[in-house]
């Protein structure tokens, strides 16, 4: 790689992509190095997808500050970038006097953090807000919401690309060296020269810190298993239900996605492994049992899929979880922004984190504004969201809108093609899935996946054996049955 970058961002999760997008407001040559074949394949996409209110974090912490700020701006951001977000509110339900007092503390903490719209509701109002919930009272947070974490990250990344940033997928960083005033970043696919480097590597933030010479950060991992339930159930759940949080665990939630699926989770178990995403049998039983105590309206027949996510947390020597660490150490690694322990509420906080990062950079170097910056990004127009009249019009303009490929999610060939041809370039089956919802329904691609893999082959012009499911090496086929 001969060209020199002004800024290289390590990690294409929601934070890395938010930094890329916010930095593209300036006249800088920006590159994002992502180890996976797509953005949002680790922590950013594997969570509850809640836009948090900001009441659950220590007063004065960066987590609290960014979360409150991020929550406030989420409506405008979602409009600008065209990703699903609903300010549906959220309840934290309790039953005992101790839990009542704890919720009052949560409200007080939230108010001290600058959050608003939190109040206690009695059983009657609780059941008006969320019919079917089990609980004697609740804290209601009207500003909490839900968002689509994949589409939020994809939207940020696409808008960054639209404004000139470049994404390098399947470029895992293996080393960083100083080269005069610059950094030489080595990846699985070549070396990059850059003036600034940003560590937003998420689960690998510790390893990248070490590469920058910023040693000694202790990262612990917390693994969360989830169960996804049928969309039909989401019609009866207007907002996420949480239990009363302790200082360290938010408790089990019955939440919902912007597509209407109900989520049960998370389990929050400590782990040393930051890449094993298996869901354990004991956790499935635990989630079923615990979720039923607050929302008993599901059976195993409603299960669609399970998933798991891992959060990187920065812990001190005693194991106490710390606040976000965002630093530039001019003495050890000048022009390197180090982000450590970026965990929940990372989705909500992503853009405020990005702006904070840029603030730190601008204390050291003035960036010129990019007058051509365009904040608007348009997503794929969903057939399922159109009125009959709009559907008819869309078909008239593009017959591919009249070819339904995924029956249960009502996804048309037009949307699938838009996904494959989108700015980041989609090379995997899950890349299509997260952008369009195809294969996310009850049959899990039983009807449409053959059509989608064939479309990928045709569009990408790659051999059968190179069609992959999600990660590098997740090969779907061993070849043809018969040569043509």
């Amino acid at each position: 790689m001969n060209t020199k970058f002004d800024v290289l961002i390590i990690g294409g999760g929601v934070v890395g992509s938010a930094i890329a997008r916010e930095l593209s407001r300036y006249r800088l040559k920006i590159g994002v190095l992502e180890k996976n074949p797509d953005v949002c394949l680790e922590t950013s996409g594997r969570n509850t997808g809640v836009c948090h209110g900001g009441f659950a974090y220590d007063i004065g912490s960066l987590k609290a500050r960014f979360c409150v700020e991020g929550n406030r701006m989420m409506g405008d951001l979602a409009k600008e970038l065209d990703f699903p977000f609903e300010r549906c509110g959220k309840v934290l339900v309790g039953n005992t006097p101790e839990e009542y007092d704890r919720l009052l503390e949560v409200i007080a903490q939230g108010e001290a953090n600058g959050a608003s719209g939190m109040r206690m509701v009695d059983e009657e109002e609780l059941h008006r807000l969320v019919p079917g919930v089990v609980g004697k009272f609740a804290m209601f947070s009207e500003n909490s919401g839900i968002l689509d974490p994949f589409l939020m990250t994809i939207a940020l990344a696409e808008n960054a690309v639209h404004n000139g940033a470049a994404y390098f997928l399947e470029h895992e960083v293996t080393g960083i060296e100083r080269s005069g005033e610059d950094y030489l970043v080595t990846t699985a696919r070549g070396t990059f020269l850059t003036r600034w480097v940003i560590n937003s590597a998420g689960l690998n933030c510790g390893a990248v810190s070490d590469m920058l010479g910023l040693k000694g950060y202790r990262i612990v991992y917390s693994k969360d298993d989830y169960i996804i339930l049928d969309q039909r159930l989401g019609r009866d759940l207007p907002m996420p239900i949480y239990t009363v949080p302790s200082n360290t665990y938010m408790g089990i939630h019955v939440s919902l996605t912007t597509d209407g699926n109900v989520l049960l989770g998370p389990t929050a178990e400590d782990t040393d492994n930051n890449h094993w995403y298996g869901v354990e049998a004991k956790n499935l039983e635990y989630l079923e049992r615990e979720a039923k105590t607050i929302w008993p309206h599901f059976t195993r027949g409603d299960y669609i899929r399970t998933y798991s996510g891992i959060l990187p947390k920065w812990a001190d020597e005693d194991g106490k979880i710390q606040d976000y660490k965002i630093e530039i150490r001019d003495d050890i690694a000048p022009r390197a922004v180090n982000l450590v322990g970026i965990e929940s509420p990372g989705l909500t906080s992503a853009v405020p984190i990005a702006r904070y990062v840029i603030g730190l950079m601008q204390e050291r170097e003035k960036f010129e504004e990019n007058e051509r910056f365009d904040p608007i990004r348009r997503g794929i127009r969903r057939f399922a969201d159109m009125s009959a009249q709009e559907q008819a019009q869309a078909i008239r303009e593009d017959p591919d809108y009249g070819e339904l490929v995924c029956r249960c999610q009502k996804v048309t060939r037009a949307e699938l093609l838009q996904a494959v041809r989108s700015p980041l370039g989609v090379r995997t089956v899950t890349g299509v899935k997260y952008r369009t919802r195809a294969m996310m329904g009850r049959c899990q691609g039983g009807y449409c996946q053959m059509r989608i893999t064939r479309m990928l082959e045709e569009e990408l012009g790659i051999p059968v054996k190179e069609i992959t499911y999600a990660r590098e090496g997740s090969q779907l086929f061993f070849g043809k049955v018969r040569e043509d």
């Binding site: 169960i227 039909r232 890449h275 094993w276 995403y277 298996g278 869901v279 354990e280 049998a281 499935l284 195993r300 027949g301 299960y303 669609i304 899929r305 399970t306 998933y307 009959a388 009249q389 559907q391 008819a392 019009q393 078909i395 008239r396 017959p399 591919d400 009249g402 070819e403 339904l404 029956r407 249960c408 009502k410 048309t412 009850r442 049959c443 899990q444 691609g445 039983g446 009807y447 996946q449 053959m450 893999t453 064939r454 059968v464 992959t468 499911y469 999600a470 990660r471 590098e472 090496g473 997740s474 090969q475 779907l476 086929f477 061993f478 070849g479 043809k480 049955v481 018969r482 043509d484």
Partner: protein, 417 residues
């Protein structure tokens, strides 16, 4: 200002709209035509008629209906030819996206959005396969976990080889047929595991697809963990107790790159639910009367969308009975769904229909919960026996049919003794 163009949706009226051009829809169409109904439209989402039969290239179809063994495409062709000879209208690449209780049906095609007002609607959407997610098998989510039908489509329709070293979970018929198919195409099928203490597919498939190829079948076993970050690397298999709970200490690891699931079929009733059709939790198909009418007046269901069949021959024959009833409905001689109850007791799992309306003979389908020997199935109204069938053996895998002649308006009780 955008100019408002003429309406881009197209409206149309038909006597009968048939949702799905598979075996049930085709048989219903032909019989309706022969009953004098001319205004018919079949909406098929694929590019060709035939439904799932298109990918079932093995033989054994038609033994009951035609008295000879046909492949799936051959069986379908018999009905497709009949449809074409009669010039019964059909559209392909036509996906039904909505059915209202008033029988207004929305169809999406590459040309237009079509709204059809139908006098009667025939639900013939077939079924879908249970997935890994629905079973919530613990472990990772690598590539290489396929339902049997998906693997079958890849091999038979798409010319893609999805497997080399294979474990099959579930002894459903498609799973066993795929064990043979994969073997013939050079894959190595290591074993089939079935959670129940008896096979869930037909005895002839156990013989012809497993035994003949030396593929072992292990009963009371299930997959308890899926391993592999990228492509599947292996599965852990455990023995289960009588409650299907894995027994600790019995875990065995099998290296494989492919896990094929044949763990049950579920009637595809998303459209029916949106129309307001009430389902039977046992069959997961509509609650119908002896005319196969659902709770929505003029909406009928037959084939695998109503209850999962083991033989396509019975699907066709059920759809023909549906057509007889739908023709009567269109004449006006049939109104509303019957309200008289049909109840069943253990070991009968369910019956179809679940209701009846008149003192007329009809055919009842049922399944038993477990394998039985020397058993007699009875249908009684009070003390009176109104249907009876003696059998040397009854298997959960085999649908049982029984002719019933109600003699009163009392509820019908079905038992196996």
């Amino acid at each position: 200002m955008p100019v408002v163009k003429a309406p881009v949706t197209e409206k149309k009226k038909v006597d009968v709209l048939i949702v799905g051009g598979g075996p049930a829809g085709l048989a219903a169409a032909v019989r309706l035509y022969d009953k004098g109904i001319r205004s018919i439209l079949i909406a098929e989402r694929e590019a060709q008629l035939g439904g799932i039969l298109r990918q079932c290239i093995h033989d054994g179809f038609g033994l009951t209906r035609f008295g000879e063994s046909l492949s799936g495409p051959e069986y379908a062709a018999r009905f497709i030819d009949e449809v074409k000879q009669r010039n019964i209208p059909y559209i392909t690449m036509a996906a039904v996206t909505q059915i209202t209780p008033e029988k207004e049906v929305t169809i999406v095609t590459r040309e237009r959005l079509l709204i059809v007002e139908a006098g009667a609607v025939v639900l013939a959407m077939g079924c879908r396969e249970r997935t890994r997610g629905a079973l919530a098998i613990p472990g990772e989510r690598p590539a290489g976990v396929f339902t049997a039908g998906v693997a079958q489509a890849y091999i038979n329709l798409y010319n893609r080889m999805p497997a080399r070293e294979v474990i099959i979970l579930g002894s459903g018929d498609i799973g066993m047929i795929m064990a043979r198919r994969l073997t013939l195409e050079g894959a190595h099928v290591k074993a089939v595991f079935e959670v129940a203490p008896y096979p869930s597919g037909l005895p002839r498939n156990i013989q012809q697809c497993l035994n003949d190829y030396g593929i072992p079948l292990y009963l009371s076993h299930t997959v308890t963990q899926i391993h592999g970050e990228k492509r599947l690397e292996g599965v852990t298999v455990s023995e289960v107790d009588e409650h299907f709970t894995p027994i600790p200490g019995t875990e065995q690891y099998y290296e494989c790159d492919t896990l094929i699931l044949s763990v049950g079929l579920i009637p595809e009733n998303e459209l029916s639910l949106d129309a307001g059709v009430v389902l039977d939790p046992r069959t997961r198909g509509a609650v119908v009367d002896e005319h196969l009418m659902t709770g929505c007046d003029g909406i009928f269901a037959a084939g695998n969308v109503l209850h999962v069949h083991d033989l396509v021959d019975f699907v066709s024959m059920e759809a023909e009975r549906l057509a007889d009833a739908a023709a009567r409905y269109l004449e006006g001689s049939l109104k509303g769904r019957g309200q008289l109850e049909i109840v069943c007791s253990d070991p009968v799992h369910h019956t179809v229909p679940q209701l009846f309306g008149a003192e007329e003979p009809f055919e009842l389908s049922l399944r038993v919960k477990r394998p039985l020997e020397n058993v007699t199935v009875y249908a009684r109204q009070g003390e009176t026996i109104v249907g009876k069938k003696k059998m040397r053996r009854a298997l959960p895998a085999e649908m049982i049919t029984l002719q019933v002649k109600p003699v009163s308006r009392m509820k019908l009780e079905v038992s196996a003794e």
